[in-house]
């Protein structure tokens, strides 16, 4: 029979990952629930998952491509912006959704126990599904353009895509969890979050390629741990972009640090969170 020991003292690095695995069905159910809840009683239903990014992509083409005339490294504009938007919304979705973990689920956390990490993990999973749906669109365009010889995907390293996704998801989750733990104490940080994420997007080569950035500014863009991952993503997809293994290693270590810090703080806050709301 299962034996549980609860003690006032808890190890700092007890991440409870084994318990999380036992609750894997719940992760999936939470993910499913968020889709059902979002798309019941809408006319177009899941079609929004395609329409939304398409409209955003077209807006970007007009705004950044035609008016601001930003470079796209020779990649067709719609494809460039759609893929950039897809990967960025995956990352920012992971951050924003997890940043409100406690606020969104207070009613559940106050009533019943389950490993709280289920929620962040299911948030990442949900965002990954959204990303994959958007990628169908990107993939269709990519095939079309590569037949025409306008882009040259590096098919042989597409195997890296899942790892890239995992890296970005975990980085987003870690960052989001740190923020969520802070927002239980200071709610005004949530107001800053939307603004902060917009700013972060412009500090990331999403609507422009890294190659278009001045060599003097590039240093600063690369302090941002998301930048190398996005460049790698573009490199895999279109065969363009600057990727150095040093900057990727930096992203990797940032991810590990953010995830560890996020989970440790989260587990700590979770133990007594219900006493403070």
């Amino acid at each position: 029979m299962q034996h549980t020991h609860i003690s006032a003292k808890q190890g700092l690095f007890d991440l409870k990952l084994r318990e999380l695995w036992q609750y894997r069905d719940l992760v999936w159910l939470f993910t499913r629930r968020s889709f059902i809840v979002t798309y019941t009683q809408t006319i177009l239903g899941p079609l929004w998952l395609i329409i939304n990014p398409l409209l955003t992509g077209i807006t970007y083409v007009v705004l950044f491509g035609n008016i601001a005339k930003l470079s796209t490294d020779g990649v067709p504009q719609l494809l460039f912006y759609l893929s950039g938007h897809a990967i960025w919304s995956f990352f920012s979705g992971c951050v924003v959704k997890n940043a409100s973990t406690f606020a969104d689920n207070a009613y559940l956390f106050g009533k019943v126990y389950f490993p709280r990490l289920v929620i962040p993990v299911s948030n990442v999973l949900g965002n990954a599904i959204l990303f994959l749906i958007q990628m169908l669109l990107v993939f269709a365009l990519l095939l079309w353009y590569s037949f025409q010889g306008l882009v040259h995907p590096l098919w042989s390293i597409w195997i890296l895509l899942p790892f890239l996704l995992l890296l970005l998801g975990v980085m987003g989750m870690g960052t989001g969890l740190i923020i969520s733990s802070l927002t239980t104490k200071y709610r005004d940080l949530r107001v800053l979050l939307d603004f902060g994420m917009t700013l972060w997007m412009y500090a990331t080569p999403v609507v422009y390629p890294l190659s278009a950035v001045d060599a003097s500014l590039r240093r600063y863009i690369l302090i941002n741990p998301v930048s190398p991952v996005i460049e790698l993503f573009r490199h895999i997809l279109f065969g363009v972009g600057d990727v150095s293994s040093a900057s990727l290693a930096y992203s990797f270590f940032f991810t590990v640090a953010a995830a560890l810090a996020g989970i440790v703080i989260f587990n700590h806050v979770e133990r007594t969170f219900m006493d403070t709301v």
Binding site: M1, Q2, H3, T4, H5, I6, S7, A8, Q10, Y23, D25, L26, L29, R33, I36, V37, T40, Q41, Y107, L108, F109, G110, K111, V112, Y113, F114, K185, Y186, R187, D188, L189, R271, T272, F273, M274, D275, T276
Partner: protein, 423 residues
Amino acid sequence: MDEQNLSLRLRGVKKQYRLGLINHQTLQQDLQSWWARRRGRDDPNQRIGTSTDQAGQFFWALDGVDLDIHRGERIGIIGANGAGKSTLLKIICRITAPTEGEIDIWGRVSSMLEVGTGFHREMTGRENIYMNGAILGMSRSEIDACLEDIIDFSELREFIDTPVKRYSSGMFVKLAFSVAAHLQSEIMIMDEVLAVGDMAFQQKCLARMRRAADEENRTVLYVSHNMSTIRQLCDRCIVLDRGRVIFDGDTERAIAAYLDHSLGEHETDMDLNLKSHSRRAVDTGVLMTRLTLTDKITAVYEKGEALRMRLVLRTTKPAPPLLFRLTLRSEADVGLATAWSPAIETDGVGEQIVCLSLPLDNIAKGNFYAGLGVYRSDELGRRIPLDYIRHAFKFEVCGLPIWNTEAHGYMALPPMEAAPAER
């Protein structure tokens, strides 16, 4: 005791909460307070009426609880509001962590602190069963295995694929309880869930709980203020008072211990601040603070005497005309009768003293608990509680020696009329 048979073991479990302001909600206020303290000024965010020394004080919601609970036991937990019942359950369910102490749990715990946790209005009954089951710790295959039983138990087969937003609240509860009742957990925890739902379903649930304990050897922990369901379900009771276990054992004796403890025996001058006021009447601006049984040394009355009381109220805002209620309950905590006063005016804010008098002509004999309440009436003439104490004091009426409460009851009704029938 044989450890194999243990289901729960608590050792020195304590839980501390902080009184007063825990922290400000925004960073700006925190900085403001910090700045004011630095300059030696008053904190601008201090709640009015609290002193700086009080904020930051701690109190123990649980103050060293030791318990051994064995498999198959049906445990009732009783105690006044604030005694620590819910805190105890929350710690066992791992909703919050203890401040001190160790807890060992053998088996899975399923809690029903509130039914229907995780239910989403947009999802169908069936989808919610899976969701709810998974939240409570079941795997998909376990739910698959008992899905049919759950649907049958809930009596909602025809509505099972309807979104639960179209359910009535009764249906909602039935579905939720059915999921919880079929959980494959070794320890079931319930906090007054049975207060809802119709009587027949309530009885069905109690029976299900009993069976879970008796036949499937599961442990049931049940918190309630409803002594009759405690009596029906539990074979052992724990009485909590201010975070400590003051009684642990037989249910009937526990209920008596709880009632006697919360009321000093036959007291005549009572500080009502120490009694448990009912929860829904919080911060209405009216609070009963002191009660004196006029001209009495012990609360023992002769039949035909009047129960005369002097009640002190504290009003923090101008109060509407007040009505007073007195409810008699038997020693077994069964409601017997209620008397109402007409509405009386009070003046202003502060201490109010009211004299109440109830003739005891119809009370034949026995020991009684008296519940005392202050009400106002709304535009439609309904009575709205402002403050209520379910067990305010205990008193005895010495009736005729030949009156036997077992046989005759507690009340003497007005004499019947009898006359020879006209032919």
